[in-house]
Each structure stands twice: as structure tokens, then as C-alpha cells.
């Protein structure tokens, strides 16, 4: 059992998370389930971003484009008479196509240049989407309101979150994940070892785009209304980047921790008007604090604390050895 756990990269906390998400509807009320839905959505976004941003080290600031593509595919097809659930794979495929179109040129760039190019791409997409006829412009679009069940949407999002975390866990221990790690550490050395870096980056980008695109579709189904301002917006891209960075970039548990923290913050922010006025302060301050003091986020702090604890725990041994 534990060997299997090690081989697939599944940790005990994931089982607990899965059980909590799937069993919650039996005990929790609608409000709590709503909050859990937001946390699950955040887990999808953060963990999927981590595939490219954390494992391969390519910090993209343009992930809201994938949320938007998924959301618009679902709304437009549902309005054309499709079953909303059948639109999710279509949105995922379109997001993958877009990820390849964007990735092919921009993956030639390295480090901050790649990040800035992704801001350019996502801003261009947002400007074009707000100017187009079929997106409903800045006034947005509505889903057909018939036959919406919150609970099935909840299970959909929870399932997608678990699928995402499971996939990321599997990628981490696979040869694919090792190739991404090699690219992150030293792209030239990785190339010299025969890793086709562009192909692996494109694969990671496509996989995370598919997950985020499907998440965008579920988002549209749940909120019943979308506009370029809600799904193509820069602050959304920003939150997607912040969650894994604050939690612990490149780790498995980090993005989930970040997503839970930010999901909770988001709920608090929406509840209190004074806090809402300070939300960018919180986001920006957290980002600055992480960069200045612990670039590996909450996971880094945890590891520091554990090292401190270990050093303090066996003092008698060290004292006797030294004497």
C-alpha cells in the first residue's frame, strides 16, 4: 500500500482532502458548500498553474485566458442548445489549442521575458474579447437558466480538483515531471541531455490549460453569468499566480495550501467591505513578504520550523558528543 503511495506520489493528506470534499454535502449546509466550491476552484487553478510555473519554472501571468476560453465555450454552446456538461471537454480542447498557439512563440523566451510576453498576450485577448460581438462585450452573457443543480456542479468541481491534484502528483514522480524539473534547474543542461525543452513546456502548458479551461466551464455553469471583465481579467491571472507562490512554488502541497488560504481570504474579503478595500494590499504585501523572506512560501516556513525543532529536540546527544 505504502509502496503504491510512493510510486504514484499520492500522500495521505490527499486522501483526507478527497474525503472531506466528497463527504461534505452529507453534513454541510449550502453556504459552506459554496465556500468549499470556491476552494476547490482555487485548487484547480493553483495546482494546474504549478505544472508549468512550479515544475518547469515558467512563470506565466496570463492564465485567465484559459478560464475565459472555457467559460465562454460553455456559455455559447449551452445557449446553442448543448448540454452544459458536454461543453466542458470542448472548452478544454480549445484551451489546449490556445495554449499551443501562445506557447509556440513565447517559449522561445526565458525567465522574466516570458512572463512579460504572457501579460501582453492576456491583455490582447482581454481587449479583443471586450470588443467582440459574440462575447456580449462589456455587458457579458447569461447561461440558459433551466435545469441547474448546484450539487452536481459541486461534485463536478470537487472531482476536477481531485483529478488535478492527482495528475500533478503523478507528473511529479514521472519521467515527464523529471524532465520539467531539469528544465527549471538549467534549461541548457537539460537540452544537452537530450530533453526537447519546448516540447515538454508545451505539454505542461497544454495539460494545465485543459484543467483550467474545464474549471472555467464549471465556473460559468455555477455563476450563470460571465463577462470579459470577470473571466479574462488581470486580477484573476494574478490570483492564479499568487496562490502557488504563497503556498510554496514547485511543491505538491504548496498550491493546495495557497488555494485554501486564498479561498478563505476571498470569502472573508467578500463578507467585509473594509477588508475588501485592502485586498490588493494583502495580495501585494504577501507577494513582497514571500519574495523578501521566504521564496518557497508556506512550505519553506514549515521546513525551517521543522529544522529548528529537530535541532532543539536532541540537545543532550549533541552536548555529550561535544564534551
Amino acid at each position: 500500500m505504502s509502496a503504491w503511495l510512493k510510486k504514484t506520489g499520492v500522500a495521505p493528506w490527499m486522501v483526507v482532502l478527497a474525503a472531506a470534499l466528497l463527504l461534505a454535502p452529507l453534513v454541510a449546509d449550502r453556504g459552506t458548500l459554496n465556500d468549499l466550491w470556491s476552494v476547490a476552484f482555487a485548487v484547480v487553478l493553483a495546482s494546474a498553474w504549478n505544472l508549468l510555473g512550479g515544475f518547469a519554472g515558467q512563470i506565466s501571468l496570463g492564465y485567465s485566458a484559459f478560464v475565459g476560453i472555457g467559460a465562454y465555450t460553455t456559455v455559447l454552446l449551452a445557449n446553442a442548445g448543448w448540454n452544459p456538461w458536454l461543453t466542458l471537454p470542448v472548452g478544454a480542447v480549445l484551451a489546449v489549442l490556445f495554449s499551443v498557439v501562445v506557447g509556440l512563440p513565447t517559449f522561445r523566451l526565458r525567465g522574466p521575458y516570458f512572463s512579460i510576453a504572457t501579460i501582453g498576450v492576456s491583455e490582447a485577448v482581454r481587449v479583443i474579447a471586450s470588443g467582440m460581438e459574440f462575447t456580449g462585450g462589456s455587458s457579458g452573457l447569461r447561461m440558459p437558466s433551466a435545469n441547474f443543480h448546484f450539487l452536481s456542479n459541486y461534485y463536478g468541481m470537487a472531482g476536477l480538483a481531485l483529478l488535478t491534484v492527482g495528475l500533478v502528483a503523478w507528473v511529479r514522480v514521472s519521467a515527464f515531471g523529471m524532465a520539467l524539473e531539469a528544465i527549471r534547474q538549467d534549461i541548457d543542461a537539460a537540452e544537452a541531455l537530450g530533453i526537447h525543452s519546448t516540447r515538454y513546456k508545451l505539454l505542461a502548458h497544454a495539460l494545465s490549460a485543459a484543467l483550467v479551461g474545464a474549471g472555467g466551464g464549471l465556473f460559468a455553469m455555477n455563476f450563470q453569468y460571465i463577462s470579459p471583465g470577470s473571466v479574462f481579467d488581470f486580477p484573476l491571472s494574478l490570483r492564479i499566480v499568487l496562490m502557488p507562490i504563497v503556498g510554496g512554488i514547485g511543491t505538491l502541497v504548496g498550491p493546495v495550501l495557497g488555494a485554501v488560504l486564498f479561498g478563505y481570504l476571498q470569502i472573508k474579503l467578500l463578507a467585509s467591505p473594509t477588508l475588501r478595500d485592502w485586498n490588493l494590499f494583502i495580495y501585494g504585501g504577501l507577494l513582497m513578504a514571500v519574495m523578501l523572506f521566504e521564496p518557497r512560501g508556506i512550505v519553506g516556513i514549515w521546513e525551517r520550523l521543522r529544522r529548528l525543532w529537530r535541532r532543539r529536540a536532541p540537545p543532550t546527544l549533541e552536548a555529550s558528543g561535544g564534551a
Binding site: 519554472g57 512563440p105 523566451l109 525567465g111 512579460i116 501582453g120 478595500d277 485592502w278 507577494l287
Partner: protein, 301 residues
């Protein structure tokens, strides 16, 4: 023909503003190898400070430059000493850590403006805001012409500082070869602080001038930051003449697209954002390098 002349003239006027907006980024990148994402936030903050000076003390926006520029120079030095210096230096390229730190600073500045001045759209009205002057058969707003004059003045000022003073020579030395500059006894810490101060002051000059032309909110400046970045990449990242050329090229492309194509105005910004991506991908060393490459190939043939 008349139309082309007016397009060229308005491109030149716009290019002056664009160049001022971009010099700050270029100075900081050249000396410190940092991409200052907070540049947009600093421009926005300067626009609000100008607004306050205007409404509280009745100070003319262009005169307030004399207050705003030194103030932001000091702010830049303080930011360098308190934040940027704490980051580990390493490698020759810009680090992700500095990019994200300054990104965080941008968000904090936005929130600061939101709390102090509110989220409403603001603009500065002066007696000459609405007046215009006829030139080549078109009318140009007086603020636009003043902005161009101030841009030229500040660029000439920067050039004199960089070419004639010891400090300026040290800045150029660090830009060209950091290690060699350190070996010849340049105090890199002080130069970095001055460079960040200069970059911040130029962001402030640009912000003040923008406030006389456009309405602004705390979210102001994101598209301008992308344009400025596009310009310094076009100009080859480090060369100050390159920045002027890049500003002119971007202004020309925007104005020509507006005058001679049917691209709707709501897509205008998408042009410069797409241009940014194209330039980064196909001419990452800027136009000068691209031309050198062409001529070399022509000679080889």
C-alpha cells in the same frame, strides 16, 4: 499627403511622451538588470500627487514637476535601500524574484491610491486644457505640445547628466560592463540607488504629464507599462538612443494603424500588446541588432 504629414507630426508628439515613459525602465534595467513592474504604479502615484498639488495648492501640473520629480527620486532611493537591496544578486539576467517583488509593490501602490484618493476616475483641468493650436492643417491641444516640450527637455537633461557628469559616466559604465566598472572603483551600491531613483523620477515625470492628457484611476498604467516595455525591447534594452527610436516606431505604428486601417479604436491597445510579443520573439535584441543582422547578411552575400 496632408494627412500623412499630420500623422507623422502627431506620431512625433506621442513619441516624446512614450520615450519619457520608457527611459525610467531602461535606466533601471541597464544598471540593475531588473524589470521594474512597479513602473506603472509609480506613474499612477505621480498622477495622483500632481492632482493633489493642483487641487489643494492650485499648482500648475507642469510647474509641479519641480516638486514631483525630486520627491520621487527620493522615493526611488528609499525603495532601493529598503527592498531591492535585500534580494540576492545573481546571474547576468533579471531574476524572477525581483520581478515578482516589484509586482507586489505595484499592487500595494494601487491599493494605497485606492484608499487615499478613492476609485473614481480623476482628471486634471487647467485653463489651457481645452485650447489648441493649428499646425499643418490640424489642431493640436496645448497640453500635448507642452508635454512634448517637457519630454524633450528632460531627455536632453538626462543625456547631459549621463554624458557630462562623473555620476552619469559611472552609470553608463555599470550598464556596459558591471564587473569592469566595479574593478575600476565604481561604487555599485550607490550607483544602483541613484539609478533606481532616476528611473522612479522619470516614471513620475511621465505620470505627471499623462495626468494632463488622460483621465486616470488607481488601475491606470498597465497598458502603458506594456507599451514602455515594448519600446525598450525595440530599442535594444540598454541603448538610450534605441529607446527614442523604439518610441517613434511604436507611435508611428499606432497612428498609421488608426489612420489607414479599419481596425476599430477599441482594438488599438491590442496592436501594441501583440507587437510586444512579436518583438520579444522575433527581435529580442531590438531593432538595432536586427538591422545589423540584415546588413551583415547582405555583406556576406
Amino acid at each position: 499627403m496632408e494627412r500623412l504629414a499630420s500623422v507623422l507630426l502627431s506620431s512625433l508628439l506621442l513619441a516624446g511622451l512614450y520615450a519619457t515613459m520608457s527611459y525610467g525602465l531602461a535606466v533601471i534595467y541597464g544598471v540593475m538588470r531588473i524589470i521594474n513592474l512597479a513602473h506603472a504604479g509609480l506613474m499612477m502615484l505621480a498622477a495622483y500627487v500632481t492632482l493633489t498639488l493642483n487641487t489643494r495648492f492650485g499648482l500648475d501640473p507642469f510647474l509641479s514637476l519641480l516638486v514631483v520629480a525630486p520627491l520621487f527620486f527620493g522615493l526611488g532611493v528609499v525603495l532601493d535601500l529598503t527592498l531591492i537591496r535585500r534580494l540576492p544578486r545573481g546571474g547576468t539576467g533579471p531574476s524572477m524574484q525581483s520581478l515578482l517583488l516589484l509586482f507586489g509593490l505595484w499592487l500595494v501602490l494601487q491599493n494605497l491610491a485606492y484608499v487615499v484618493w478613492g476609485g473614481d476616475t480623476q482628471s486634471i483641468l487647467t485653463p489651457y486644457t481645452m485650447s489648441s493650436v493649428p499646425l499643418l492643417g490640424e489642431r493640436y491641444g496645448v497640453p500635448l505640445l507642452l508635454v512634448f516640450a517637457v519630454s524633450l527637455l528632460s531627455l536632453v537633461g538626462l543625456t547631459i547628466v549621463l554624458r557630462r557628469t562623473f555620476l552619469g559616466k559611472a552609470i553608463r559604465a555599470v550598464t556596459q560592463n558591471r564587473d569592469a566598472a566595479l574593478l575600476s572603483g565604481v561604487n555599485a551600491g550607490r550607483i544602483s540607488a541613484v539609478a533606481f531613483g532616476l528611473g522612479t523620477a522619470f516614471a513620475a515625470i511621465a505620470g505627471t504629464m499623462l495626468s494632463t492628457l488622460y483621465a486616470f484611476t488607481p488601475d491606470f498604467g498597465r497598458s502603458l507599462l506594456l507599451k514602455a516595455f515594448c519600446i525598450i525591447v525595440l530599442g535594444g534594452m540598454e541603448s538610450f538612443t534605441g529607446v527614442a527610436i523604439g518610441a517613434l516606431v511604436l507611435a508611428l505604428i499606432e497612428n498609421l494603424a488608426a489612420a489607414y486601417t479599419t481596425i476599430p479604436t477599441s482594438f488599438q491597445d491590442a496592436i501594441s500588446f501583440s507587437l510586444l510579443v512579436l518583438v520579444l520573439v522575433f527581435a529580442p535584441n531590438g531593432l538595432p541588432a536586427l538591422f545589423r543582422g540584415f546588413s551583415r547578411r547582405a555583406v556576406a552575400r
